[in-house]
Each structure stands twice: as C-alpha cells, then as structure tokens.
C-alpha cells in the first residue's frame, strides 16, 4: 500500500481526533502533547490544554521538550503553582480528559512507568517483587497516578509492541482497571478511567463488562495478525471491527509544520 503518511502520523492524528473541542485536557509530555496540540490547531481550537507545571489554557507554538518549558507559560491564559494544579484543578474535578503515555500497558489498561522487572513474574508475583528486582529503572509516576483517577476519563497513546503491550504489567504505577479489572468498582469518588487507547496499529477500548481492552478499529492496511503479533496476550477484536479513517491532508500539514518548528527551535531536533 502506497501511503502518504507514516504509522506515527496515523497514531498522532487519530489520537488528536479523539479530543473534542471545548474539552479540558491534562496533557502528558511526548506523544499525548503532540496529539493534543494537533487537535488544538485543527478541529478543537477551544480545547483547554493543561500541563502539570501549572500552565492553564496554553497554546505553545512548538512542542515542549519538558513539562515546564517557558513556551507553555508564555502562551498560557494563566499559570498556577504546582500544589494548586494538583489540588484545585485536577483533584477538584475540573479536568475532562487526562491524556497519558506509558512504558508498559496491560490488558486492563494499567500503566507501568516505574520499573521493568529483571524477569517477569507471572500470576501474582509483581509489584513489590519487580520493584526490588529491576532490570530497567524507569522515571516513575510523576503526575500520572492521580491524573488517571481524578480526571473524568483517560486517553492513552503509545506505540504498539510486545515490549509495551504485556499481559500483566511488572508494576502498577497508574490504575487502569486494576489487576483483576475491578479496580474502579465501588469507588464513586474517582473518574471512569481509560476509555480509549490509540496506537500506531489500532484503536482499543475497554469491554464495558470485563474492562479488558478490545481492538475496535484497525488502521488502514493493518491486519489483525499484525496487532496480535505486537501484543503480549491473546487480544480480542470487536465483532464489528472498524477501519480507522485516514489522516486528512490539513491535519498532516499541521502536524508536520508543528514538528518542523519544534525541531528548529530545539536545534538538533526533539529528543522524543
């Protein structure tokens, strides 16, 4: 298939489309930030982007390298302190969508950004064991644990591979639906959790009953086998499997210009 866009561009633009105009979105750095800004520059000019450094309603001209770049503050409606951000704005219930990336995600959309275990412990031996026996020490939770529970819902975007999509995460840094899929039951004080996961191959959504992630849409030219091969568990597909719409020319142009501006500004390219 002769495509005029890359799988990464497909992922970013699909993730951008998931965001509605008028939404307040708490944005993670990296892929979520890229998608959220494409949304703002295309179909969602009135989206409110909020970064954990305290910048509210920010309109950066280039993608930030860090969560607290000066560009975010200079283009924001207002900038508040970090305690105010987490207490009033996030915990206070003013965030519609928390938009996160991750290093590992499991079938119940739990996220791990803490530690990759030296050897994966199947069935029950995770968490504290992984933490004590790290192969790779990752940066940690940052804002994600509370973004995931205090935002009304959560979008996740991440590249699809068996390293990332594991049956059970080595460590639950951030709650999806818990190790048994029931982690949000009987808790009226937290948000509804992940509602969509967008990868470079497909779109996944949690099953309304079991909360296990199900592929609901394949990107054009991607096969079910490709998705299965890139997933560390036996992945389920929706009965009615959609094909994700191709990126439109206008969105592609906006994304490419945004990335070019960012590369120029950061002299040497964005290090994502």
């Amino acid at each position: 298939m002769n495509q005029s866009y890359t799988p990464s561009e497909m992922m970013t633009i699909t993730a951008a489309r998931a965001l509605s105009n008028g939404t307040s979105c708490f944005v993670g750095i990296g892929l979520p930030s890229e998608a959220a800004n494409v949304a703002r520059l295309t179909h969602a000019p009135d989206i409110t982007l909020i970064y954990e450094s305290g910048t509210i309603q920010t309109k950066p001209d280039v993608l930030p390298l860090s969560i607290g770049d000066g560009e975010l503050c200079e283009s924001a409606l207002t900038t508040v302190s970090v305690p105010e951000m987490f207490r009033y704005w996030l915990q206070g219930g003013h965030i519609d969508v928390g938009f996160l990336g991750t290093a590992q995600i499991d079938r119940f959309a739990n996220l791990n950004t803490t530690v990759i275990a030296a050897e994966h412990q199947a069935d029950g031996k995770h968490g504290a064991y992984s933490y004590a026996h790290p192969k790779v020490r990752l940066p940690g939770g940052g804002g994600a644990p509370e973004i995931s529970t205090n935002a009304k819902e959560v979008f996740i975007t991440v590249k699809h591979s068996t390293r990332t999509f594991v049956k059970e995460v080595d460590f639950v840094t951030t709650l999806g639906f818990g190790r048994d899929g029931k982690g949000r039951e009987n808790n009226p004080n937290i948000g509804k959790g992940p509602s969509v996961v967008i990868t470079d191959l497909c779109i996944l959504k949690p099953d309304p009953e079991t909360k296990e992630l199900v592929v609901t849409s394949l990107h054009p030219g991607v096969t079910s086998k490709q998705v299965q091969d890139a997933t560390g568990w036996e992945i389920k597909f929706a009965e009615k499997l959609d094909e994700t719409p191709v990126p439109d020319e206008a969105s592609l142009k906006v994304l490419r210009e945004l990335k070019a501006r960012t590369a120029r500004q950061h002299a040497g390219g964005n290090a994502q």
Binding site: V82, N110, T114, P139, G141, G268
Partner: protein, 271 residues
C-alpha cells in the same frame, strides 16, 4: 531577617552533612549553581528531596553527596534516564542510594502541608497504584465526616530549602515569575532557606498578586547570575536544551562524569 552573602558562605553556613535538603524548581529556576557549590564543599550523607530530580540531583548523586532520595519523577526531561542515579540504585556506585518514591500530587500536597505547619498531607491519591506497596510512608486515612478513604503521607519539612528566583530588592524581598512550581512552599516548609537570585534591584515592581516572598521568610540570599543554567529563568535566559542532551552521554560513563565533575565543578572554584 535575611542576610546577603556569597553562595559559598550560604552553603557553608546553611548545609550540614546529614541534612535533608530540598532544591526545587519545576523545570524552571532550578538552583544548579547552589547544587554545584554543595558538590564543591563535599557535603555528605544528604537526604535530597525533589519532585523531579533531573540533572541537578544526578550530579549530586554521582558526586557521592547523597544517601537518600525522596522524589516523584526521576528522568532527564525529553531525553531519557538519570544514569548516575541509576548507577547508584542498580550498582551502589559511588555509594548505595535509598529511595522513597511518591507521585507528584503526593509531594505537592506534602510540601503544602509542610508550609502549612501540618504533620501530614491528606489527598485523593494512589488509588489502585502499587506505590504504597513499596513506600511505607504512604498510608490510608478515613474522612471522619464522609467516610471516604483518602491517602495520607507525612509533610515535607526539610532542614534546608534552596531555590532560585529572578530578583530580590535591597531589603531581601524576592520575586518569582513564570512557572512558580513549588518555590514558595519549599521556602516556607524548610527550617533554613537559601535563595539565589539573578540580580538585586531597587524596586521589585511586582504586581499585587505576584509570587513574592518577604525578606523575613528567607535566611540567606546569594546573587548568582545564571544560577539556574542549564535550566531557564523566565525573562532572563532560555533553557539550554543541548546541555540536557549532551548530559546523557556524560552521565552514562563513570569516567566521563568524573572528567566533567573536575572541569565543570571542582576546578571552577567558589562562586
């Protein structure tokens, strides 16, 4: 009342071996010059507290100043890992490093509780996270009114709080502008506070709601132009992104790091 001094004096008089030290600045206004002075003065056995222990704590940990790290996100923003911190955790080099790991919301709440004079922070956090399994400082507390189960962690009450700001007036009142992060809470929660500033001015010219710390909340002020580099100071200089990228290679290799330490910190002499 605040006193003005050189950075070297401020660190010599303010930071003791074994102290808990919080050096904050959320990407912005990171007090790098003060961190390098602590390395030069070979302070030891410090407990370092910081939400995002990026390059500044990688350097302090690599230099052997640190026995314990309390943090919530430990990476080189936009670049990758903190290799000196990882070498300490994974290989006990140059010494072992105890870690206490939180989320940002937890630490922000704990600083605010510290500044508020409370013993603990209460917030809706850590729901479903496994961090409480590996951090005994995370507890549950039941709201006596609603019955809701909430998270509780101890307040952050550092022995020393160190931050950088844009400017002070001649009396020692300090203005922070831009991303103010957790700067105010660190100074107000610490037993002893040190603020480095870009410059001293006759008038702060602060707007009525600006983030200003009165002189009597700060123990020592040192004038250190460029004291936040390679991070940035809003209105003064931008972030040196190339430094952050170059750091990845320097910090990956113990020998390269030692060369960096000698040339960029020890040989530079007192500030």
């Amino acid at each position: 009342m605040t006193t003005f001094s050189s950075l070297a004096e401020a660190i010599r008089d303010g930071v003791k071996d074994g102290d808990s030290v919080a050096m904050e600045g959320f990407t912005h206004l990171i007090p790098f010059a003060a961190g390098h002075e602590i390395i030069r003065q070979e302070k030891r056995d410090l407990t370092l507290i910081r939400m995002t222990p990026d390059l500044i704590y990688d350097q302090l940990v690599g230099a052997g100043c640190v026995k314990k790290l309390i943090f919530s996100w430990g990476g080189n923003p936009g670049v990758g890992s903190l290799h000196r911190v990882r070498d300490a955790i994974e290989n006990q080099f140059p010494r072992s490093l105890e870690t206490v790991e939180h989320s940002h919301a937890a630490m922000a709440n704990a600083y605010e509780a510290g500044a508020s004079g409370l013993p603990l922070a209460v917030f809706r956090g850590y729901v479903g996270s496994e961090l409480p399994l590996v951090n005994s400082q995370i507890a549950k507390i039941t709201c006596p009114f609603s019955g809701e189960e909430l998270a509780a962690i101890p307040s952050i009450l550092p022995d020393v709080g160190i931050v950088h700001a844009q400017r002070a007036d001649r009396k020692g009142n300090v203005l922070f502008e831009g991303i103010v992060g957790i700067q105010k809470e660190v100074v107000l929660s610490a037993k002893h506070s040190i603020v480095t500033v870009e410059e001293i001015v006759d008038e702060l010219e602060a707007s009525p709601n600006a983030c200003v710390l009165p002189s009597w909340t700060i123990n020592t002020i040192a004038v250190v132009p460029g004291g936040a580099k390679p991070s940035y100071a809003h209105g003064y200089y931008p972030r040196d992104n190339q430094y952050y990228k170059d750091w990845d290679n320097i910090a990956r290799d113990r020998e390269q790091f030692t060369v960096w330490l000698n040339n960029s910190v020890y040989k530079k002499g007192e500030q």
